[in-house]
């Protein structure tokens, strides 16, 4: 069974039909909180599957997955993409930090959500809204409950219930009304805000979360044919794109006890601006105010890790959808000569363990820790030799993806396309190890040479760079730090005297300087690092661990597989690394790795994660 259609092509969740989503989506373990009432933050780097998770919660997908009707839905979600909402108008900065900024921010957000709520009602409860008793009640509720609230918020237009037709038309009238309020606010007031530095008076309506949105949802939920106790989930995607006032407004919503009725499910790319609310000293915290789901797994360990099992299920679904009943291991074989050579080294360790005893605790520890690094050392006899190591095989691909599904799918899609070309269009049954290696090395090189140099940033990052003069300078320091770490880890890999040669992370025992902290934060946001914590040796508290993305393994010729040791680095190492990575390499070459780092042997009961 073969296919020429690329099973790894990445589609945006919005472009997928509900049946495609339900067919392909596999819930990540530990995301059960998202299915239940309660505010939840879903954090993950770009490509980790946040939007897909939220799409899966859409009522169309839930009905299909659980084979239920609209009135049997366990919850009803309303989706808003903050990016598409275009909320962060530069003119609003004029009001930042002022009470009026918060009020206007809430008003704009509420306008958008009202329209989305009504869209959802029209789409899901279409037939319920057409029933005569529902229409009658809807009209009454609009006239007696909803319009008075709009008026109380400053809406002044003339209204007559004669304007209202059937249930769908009532929804559309409400949407048009809110649309116009939004236009008036933006095109009128916000535009003037940008063009006049003197304070401006706004006399238009100001719609609020408690004053309009929640009451509207209550009235909609009370209509005949709609489950009265139906939990409502408001899904806000990419909330990092909110400005500071808007973020505080959202936090204030999270702080409110509405979860028996409305729950907020908020996705971020780990650069959420603040957890403060608008009240004095107010702050939202987990688990008191919300639960958190972190979609990025740092635990990419040996066989049986949850990420590996999950990814295998996702890939198998994708392959099966196209009639390809092939195991991913078969589709992505490792270079056969390399496998044989590493197996020979493994046999050597097993034999030596029998005669001389294992170097580590068990023979298998030696096999696991040293075989591949020994092979990598062997093939790197000269500069070009480093490139004889092949980054191929399903296991290596999993580890190189660093726990983010997008970082598996994108390279896999490219490999598949190249294999099709190599096959002259004939179906693909296997992806050549050479192609796998080439694509992974290209991507790794690109990460250093092009992406870091042409990296896109949000202005929010520039605004929190207080210890680095500008964004360009910060990116250069990040590149320096990445280069220094990669070079250090490579030197450790080649040092056959070391007990653990696969090192991929650093432990921050000393609190780094603010400048270094900013660079690490930038690296985490851009996907070069992931952060975890580990129990402190003295048993008191936890220590920060910064993990280099395994996507850079091909660039630095590192072994990406399995758990690895970490370096306990000094403040001096980090400070030198960001300013002068060559001096770090020079000192390690002349005085050894331990001259200003201290490697710690990894305990295999390591927990990982945040």
């Amino acid at each position: 069974m073969t296919t020429t259609i690329n099973p790894f092509a990445v589609q945006t969740p919005e472009s997928m039909t509900p049946s495609e989503v339900v067919e392909l989506f596999e819930p990540v373990p530990d995301v059960d909180a998202i299915n239940h009432p309660g505010h939840t933050f879903i954090n993950g780097q770009r490509g980790s599957g946040k939007s897909m998770l939220l799409r899966w919660l859409s009522p169309e997908c839930v009905m299909l997955a659980r084979n239920v009707t609209p009135t049997q839905l366990p919850f009803l979600s309303v989706y808003l993409s903050i990016k598409q909402a275009q909320l962060d108008l530069p003119e609003l900065k004029r009001l930042e930090g002022m009470g009026s900024g918060a009020v206007l921010s809430e008003h704009l957000l509420v306008c958008l959500l009202i329209v989305k709520v009504l869209d959802t009602w029209k789409n899901i409860f279409h037939s319920q809204l057409q029933q005569p008793n529902a229409i009658q009640q809807f009209k009454e509720r609009v006239e007696k409950k909803i319009v008075p609230r709009f008026r109380a918020c400053g809406w002044k237009d003339n209204f007559s219930s004669d304007q209202l037709g059937n249930g769908i038309e009532i929804c559309e009238w409400l949407q048009d009304t809110v649309d116009l309020i939004h236009v008036e606010t933006v095109a009128g007031f916000v535009q003037r805000l940008g063009l006049e530095s003197e304070p401006l008076r706004w006399s238009g309506p100001l719609l609020g979360y408690q004053t309009v949105l929640l009451p509207l949802i209550r009235e909609l939920r009370a209509l005949p044919g709609i489950p009265e106790e139906l939990p409502i989930f408001i899904l806000l995607d990419d909330a990092d794109n909110l400005n500071i006032d808007q973020t505080k407004v959202l936090n204030s919503w999270v702080a409110q006890r509405t979860t028996d009725f409305v729950s907020l499910k908020i996705s971020t790319q780990m650069r959420y601006k603040t957890f403060l609310t608008h009240s004095d000293n107010g702050r939202i915290e987990a688990p008191h105010d919300f639960s958190e789901i972190l979609l990025t797994s740092v635990q990419v360990g040996g066989g049986g890790s949850s990420y590996e099992a999950w990814l295998t299920t996702v890939l198998t679904k994708r392959l099966q959808k196209l009639g390809l009943n092939v195991d991913p291991n078969t589709l992505f074989p490792e270079d056969a000569k390399q496998v044989a050579a590493i197996e020979e080294i493994k046999n050597g360790y097993r034999a030596k363990a029998k005669t001389d005893g294992p170097r580590g605790y068990r023979a298998n520890d030696d096999v696991y820790r040293y075989s591949r690094p020994d092979y990598m050392t062997k093939v790197s006899g000269n500069a070009k030799g480093s490139y004889r190591y092949s980054y191929s095989g399903f296991t290596q691909l999993i580890h190189l993806s660093s726990g983010i599904i997008r970082f598996f799918l994108d390279p896999a899609a490219r490999m598949f396309s190249e294999q099709i070309k190599k096959n002259d269009g004939k179906p693909v049954t296997v992806i050549d190890p050479d192609i796998q290696n080439k694509v992974l090395r290209e991507i790794s090189d690109n990460l250093i040479f092009q992406e870091l140099d042409k990296m896109r940033q949000d202005a929010a990052i520039s605004s929190w760079l207080t210890h680095t003069s500008d964004l360009l300078s910060a990116l250069k320091k990040l590149k320096n730090l990445v280069e220094a770490l990669g070079a250090t880890f490579r030197m450790i890999l080649l040092d056959t005297n070391r007990s653990e040669r696969r090192v991929f992370s650093i432990l921050l025992n000393d609190e780094p300087t603010d400048e270094v902290n900013e660079i690490i934060k930038l690296g985490i946001f851009l996907g070069y690092f992931q952060e975890a914590s580990i129990g402190a040796k003295d048993g008191l508290g936890r220590t920060r661990r910064v993990v280099l993305t395994r996507r850079l393994a091909p660039y630095f010729n590192l072994d990406p597989i399995g758990f690895s040791g970490y370096l306990s680095v000094t403040r001096e190492y980090l400070q030198r690394a960001i300013h002068d990575p060559h001096s770090v390499r020079g000192r390690i070459k002349s005085e050894g790795v331990d001259s200003f780092t201290q490697q710690t042997q990894l305990d295999f009961s390591f927990e990982g994660g945040m």
Binding site: T12, K83, Q86, K116, L195, M455
Partner: protein, 341 residues
Amino acid sequence: MKKMSALEFAQEVKALQPSTFITCASFESRCVEIAKIISEQTSVKTLCFHVDKTCASTQKNRTEIAELKWPAYKEAGLYISNPLASSDTVLRSVSSLSASEANAILVDVSTFTHEHLAMLIKALLNRDLLRFTHFAYVGVNVYGVNPSDESEPLWLSRGAAAVRSIVGYPGMLRPSRAVHFIALVGFEFERIRVALDESEPGSVSLGVGEAIESVTPGHYSENKRFYDKVAAFVEEKSANPSFIERFDFSCIDPKKAKQKILEIAAKHVDCNVVLFPMNTKLSTVGAIFASLDEPSIQLAYVEPVEYNVNNYSSGIDGFRLVSAIELSGEEIPMSSLFSAQ
């Protein structure tokens, strides 16, 4: 729109007798060309903007402009990363220009950023000075030479620090509508890619310069190359073939560019139209006037991380001149402060 030699342009300027000259000093050497001609032909009050992240070549050009013969000369600093502060500076600077004294205002649009140029035009409109304004432009022979990288022989800027609407052009976005993205593609891929990623549009119209309406044939072939790259990216992102529409526009005639944009926007009246002008400043003038004519269009900008300051452009390829009246067809649109809808 006629391309003129330096001599022809000088004669036009002399006939125009502008009372005010507005320009922007930049790292590009062409920013002094029109200033030199103006200072030799007329006696004008001059307002020279410059961007805060100055580099040696900007400083040099700024000094060269300042040392030309002006009866009155003012400078004002603008910001790449602070649009509100830039807008305030532009408004303040323009407010000192007197409508009663205005004969003609000549703006050298060549080396403003797209964003700052839009702010300037809005400020002139709000002071009722736009009807006196003429826009001048210096074409260049070669853009963005990159001798160190064969894989990308041309680069103008790198990275994208922010994507935002331009102050004064927020559009009339309706929450119930999807975004329709319009871009006038120039010589940059990264900024448009980021703009697309950030906007998440429901549909896209991509514009490429027409061959006969490009500054030079060489520019056309480069423009086409970047356009193809952007189009391939958009197609890869969407399985829906009707997601992307292609159109040609004029890089040298703002009136034609404006008409084309309005034509495209009119096909998407049920969408929130967001417009990214990223080609010549002449086509950007057209985009700005399209937004003034149709305030529902949001004008947007992608702030780059860095510019190719050493090799952004070289060589001069003629001068062009157009009046605001010509662009608006006799009627300058009312200041948007008085027409919110």
